[in-house]
């Protein structure tokens, strides 16, 4: 790891701690929901971060289709994985928030449902990457990512209309937001964005290393005469 990484890691940890402090102490208590509303400062930034990561995945997939760049493929893989992690956070914090406020675990809230569908699409993307055994996995994955991206506006509109026909509770708190709350929200978003960037960077370097090792193994298998081959098939990875 480069020398700058530990410094950035410490800075990010500090930022996250400060953001947590702001969320728990500085932010004013909400009138109707009480302290539980503070989940908002983790729930919403995670959602925004996930959406941004998936957007990057879309761009990287398109770049891969046009240029067949290995880097673009790795970026796509990394942003999909980290995006799914942040999506999971949204899907876990959402029901935890909904339960004390609305008395039910799940509601077809627009953002929550959209996040669920995105989570499903990108988990299927990751499963495709893992189960696909042809050397063209990056290509197929890129195509799937484009399909997913095309789906998003359609998902949005279908849920939006569904909610007008079957009114449901709104979790995220729409409309006007107190300026101090907005400040705390943005600080947390900044902190989580830095955190996401560092995680992506780590995952990127890990994947680069992994591919180098796989390539070396493949070369070795080609060059070495049979019999002196000591590698077990266990160290082979499928795509």
């Amino acid at each position: 790891m480069k020398r700058v990484f530990p410094i950035l890691a410490v800075l990010t940890a500090a930022l996250l701690s400060y953001a947590l402090y702001e969320a728990l102490v500085v932010a004013p208590t909400e009138l109707t929901m009480g302290d539980v509303q503070r989940i908002f400062y983790y729930h919403v930034p995670s959602a925004w971060t996930a959406f941004i990561l998936f957007s990057i995945n879309f761009v990287a997939s398109v770049v891969y289709l046009i240029r067949r760049s290995n880097k673009a493929d790795i970026v796509a893989l990394v942003t999909a994985e980290v995006g799914v992690v942040f999506c999971t956070v949204v899907l876990v914090t959402g029901p935890i928030w909904a339960r004390p406020v609305w008395g039910i675990w799940w509601t077809w809230d627009l953002r929550l449902t959209l996040t669920l569908v995105l989570w499903l699409i990108y988990v299927s993307y990751l499963v495709l990457r893992r189960f696909s055994s042809s050397g063209q996995t990056p290509l197929l994955a890129a195509v799937l990512a484009i399909f997913g991206a095309l789906d998003v506006p359609l998902v949005y509109f279908s849920i939006w209309f569904f909610r007008t026909q079957h009114p449901q509770p709104v979790i995220g708190g729409g409309g006007f937001i107190d300026p101090l709350m907005l400040h705390v929200l943005l600080i947390n978003w900044l902190a989580f964005s830095c955190f996401a960037a560092l995680v992506c960077w780590s995952r990127y370097r890990l994947e680069v290393l992994q591919r180098e090792v796989d390539e070396t193994l493949a070369l070795e298998a080609l060059l070495e005469p049979r019999g002196s081959q000591t590698r077990t098939s266990q160290t082979w990875r499928a795509g």
Binding site: V85, V89, T93, V199, S202, V213
Partner: protein
């Protein structure tokens, strides 16, 4: 109130779990590379 802490703890549990898988993969890779180098020198 406990819901609030549950949410924050769950968030970090998820992140830590993912970072843990990354760490495990990295350690495994590093061992493989060490094995490589060991065989090369032989």
């Amino acid at each position: 109130m406990s819901y609030l802490y549950a949410a924050y703890i769950a968030t970090w549990a998820i992140h830590v779990a993912y970072l843990g898988t990354l760490l495990r993969r990295y350690i495994r890779l590093r061992n493989e590379i060490a094995e490589f180098k060991g065989r090369e020198e032989r």
